[in-house]
């Protein structure tokens, strides 16, 4: 029974990881850029939710669309003003740029909001539902469902809508996409915006179930990176699956060994995948 509880906790945890990692992977797919500032975009979403809740009393679930829009537009502008300049250049340029952005955003947040740990005390989502002996945390269950909704919705958008197909086309072969009349520059702006918005939603959900601080992004970016390597760089479904594997991997490891070791699972996975199957679940091996 206990083991079931552990697996359920792991899957719910994985849902939030998924939202974070799929956004990261979406950006990588289209631009071949590892966005090291992704964690800080998530942090931004968390703080917007926090301040809307504490200062204006806005329900943290209802504020999600607004938070996503604000951070999404911010991401769009970042791409327009900065990131666009390093697309197609050696990977070190984009790594340096996004690392700089990450440090800058974290520093500004530390200055504005201090390093205090805070969280949204949304009482309607504290406590748990009981299924037999398994306690399902309300906050995590709702976060999981919203994660699924957003990642699922994004998947439909990418596969069904014209613009979504343009994003995928740009991801698969930018030159051909351009020849077919796709404005790949616009695709890149929108993709970075969408990825940022997904990070912001993840941040909003994390502010409800965990504690937040300006440095939270750094804790998640390593895990996010492990997830997309496991799932396959650029693969949307792969990131979703990788996230669940990491979530369950962490809780099961914590159960059988210790919480200490579980924090290393992400990096162990990263190592194993790179040695055994560098392309991950669904990635394509480089030529």
């Amino acid at each position: 029974m206990d083991f079931l509880q552990i697996v359920v906790s792991g899957i719910l945890l994985g849902g939030v990881y998924a939202l974070f990692a799929t956004g990261l992977n979406l950006i990588f797919g289209v631009m071949k850029i590892i966005n090291l500032g992704h964690g800080e975009l998530m942090m931004l979403g968390a703080y917007i939710t926090f301040f809307l809740f504490t200062e204006a009393g806005v329900n943290p679930l209802l504020s999600i669309p607004l938070t996503a829009a604000v951070v999404g537009i911010f991401g769009f502008l970042l791409q327009f003003a900065l990131v666009e300049r390093v697309v197609g250049q050696p990977i070190i340029n984009s790594l340096l740029l996004t690392f700089g952005l990450s440090t800058l955003m974290m520093g500004v947040a530390l200055n504005l909001w201090t390093s205090n740990y805070r969280s949204v005390n949304y009482t309607a989502l504290s406590g748990s539902w009981h299924l037999g002996e398994v306690a399902i945390s309300k906050g995590r269950a709702v976060a999981f469902l919203i994660s699924l909704l957003v990642t699922g919705g994004m998947w439909l958008f990418l596969n069904r809508s014209t613009f979504g197909k343009a994003i995928r086309a740009t991801s698969e072969h930018p030159q051909v996409a351009q020849l077919c009349g796709i404005d790949i520059r616009k695709v890149r702006y929108v993709t970075f915006g969408l990825g940022s918005a997904m990070a912001a939603v993840a941040g909003a959900l994390i502010s409800i179930i965990f504690t937040i601080s300006p440095e939270m992004g750094r804790m998640f970016i390593g895990k996010g990176f492990a997830i997309i390597v496991l799932g396959g760089l650029g693969s949307y479904v792969g990131a979703l699956l990788g996230a669940i594997v990491l979530g369950v991997g962490e809780t099961v490891t914590a159960y059988f060994t210790s919480t200490q070791l579980s924090e290393g699972v992400a990096y162990l996975i990263l190592l194993l995948v790179l040695v055994v199957r560098p392309a991950g679940f669904f990635g394509k091996a480089e030529d």
């Binding site: 509880q5 205090n116 805070r118 009981h130």
Partner: protein, 408 residues
């Protein structure tokens, strides 16, 4: 405590309000009734305190306490008749940075004296440096037992060691309530480990069985699995050796998992207003150790509280009080010695026994470990912090056992 000293504290108390008001008003000595203005070269006191990084929040209280005392001294005649000047840096909650800054304070800035940094990890690293330069260190912001187990010869505690934080809760409260089992979890940093290992030791002495003991990494974002293991063992008490963010995380996830204990206690957080602000009604019934509370009737305490609120527009927590107490002790020891003589000062700090704003006052053993101070136990009741032990200082009755989560 001598009557003479009591009088001087009362006088100082009277001077505080006026002194602060005049500092704020811009005419520094205009209304100060007692002392002549200090003259000569300032006595420079060095310190680094974490005002950024994970411990920045709590460290800021300590830094503000130093500044309050500096302003008060300068408004009331200074120290040994000389003005006081603090040289304060921010170590960003990093032990290596802290050690480097004290080295800089002593060798480059050439300060006359130092006061301790915030948090045990930083203090442990800093003590190596101050010891090396023969500089006595009053530890105003740390309490890990390991600091006094390291064989330093001039490192002095201001408040109880971390290993004793849960002593009263385990050996008195738990036994009175008839609790027989406990789970002890703690973060793997110097201070939380000291509190957690201390809890295990006191459980052993009290005959309480520790059914689960486990550490978790710093910055853990999820302890739900750890708590699931504990839920299976159904202990009477959950004891967390944790800083504020983890205390919040543990308590919140305990609720999420319906981990039902009769008593919950955490080493840091349970005494902080942030704890109840974050958790709301769920903070009720949680017990925690506190080194100081505003209600404690120690000499000068009320004046300290009022002056602090006046100067910083917010109430001090115990980290401000321990910082201030460190200043008071340094002041008394230096006054007794009469000049800046580091060896004599260290000797004086070993033999000194005085009251300060902390309950129990100052008294150290032969290693420099604090033995005079009496930690308090507080409990949240309907969103209010109540002192429940020791009984002669208590402001209310303890409320136990904690009801199940869904019956609150």
């Amino acid at each position: 405590m001598s009557p003479l000293h009591r009088r001087s504290l009362v006088q100082r108390g009277a001077a505080i309000g006026a002194g602060i008001a005049s500092v704020r008003g811009g005419h520094l000595f205009a209304q100060t009734p007692v002392a002549e203005p200090p003259s000569g070269d300032p006595i420079r006191i060095g310190a680094s305190v974490s005002t950024s990084g994970p411990n920045g929040r709590t460290g800021l209280y300590q830094q503000e306490a130093y500044k309050l005392w500096e302003a008060q001294k300068n408004a009331a005649g200074g120290l040994l008749g000389r003005p006081v000047e603090f040289v304060i840096y921010d170590d960003q909650s990093d032990p290596t940075t802290g050690a480097r800054l004290y080295e800089k304070l002593i060798t480059e800035d050439e300060v006359d004296l130092v006061l301790g940094p915030y948090a045990s990890g930083v203090t442990q690293a800093v003590a190596q440096v101050t010891e090396q330069y023969g500089m006595p260190l009053l530890v105003a912001g740390a309490s890990a037992n390991s600091i006094w187990d390291s064989g330093f010869s001039m490192v002095f505690g201001v408040y109880s060691v971390a290993g004793d934080y849960f002593k009263d809760i385990i050996t008195n409260i738990a036994l009175e309530q008839g609790y027989t089992t406990a789970a002890v979890i703690y973060e793997d940093a110097v201070f939380p480990m000291s509190t957690g290992e201390g809890a295990v030791k006191w459980c052993g002495e009290a005959g309480i069985e520790v059914v689960h003991e486990e550490s978790y990494p710093q910055k853990a974002t999820d302890v739900s699995t750890l708590l699931t293991k504990i839920r299976d063992l159904n202990p009477d008490m959950l004891i967390g050796g944790s800083y504020l963010p983890d205390s919040v995380l543990i308590h919140r996830q305990a609720k999420d998992l319906s981990l039902e204990c009769k008593l919950y206690t955490y080493s840091v957080g349970a005494a902080q207003p942030d704890f109840v602000e974050t958790l709301g009604a769920d903070a009720d019934y949680v017990l925690g150790p506190s080194m100081w509370e505003p209600e404690v009737e120690t000499p000068g305490n009320k004046e300290f509280f009022d002056a602090y609120v006046e100067m910083f527009d917010r109430e001090p927590d115990y980290h401000a009080a321990t910082g201030y107490a460190g200043c008071q002790i340094l002041e008394q020891a230096l006054t007794n010695v009469g000049e800046i003589d580091l060896e004599a000062l260290a000797e004086e700090l070993f033999s000194l026994e005085i009251e300060n704003i902390l309950p129990g006052g100052y008294k150290v053993d032969e290693t420099g470990k604090q033995v005079g101070h009496i930690p308090l136990t507080v409990q949240w009741q309907d969103g209010e912090k109540v002192i429940v032990a020791p009984t002669d200082i208590a402001t209310g009755e303890i409320m136990l056992p904690t009801p199940p989560w869904d019956e609150r």
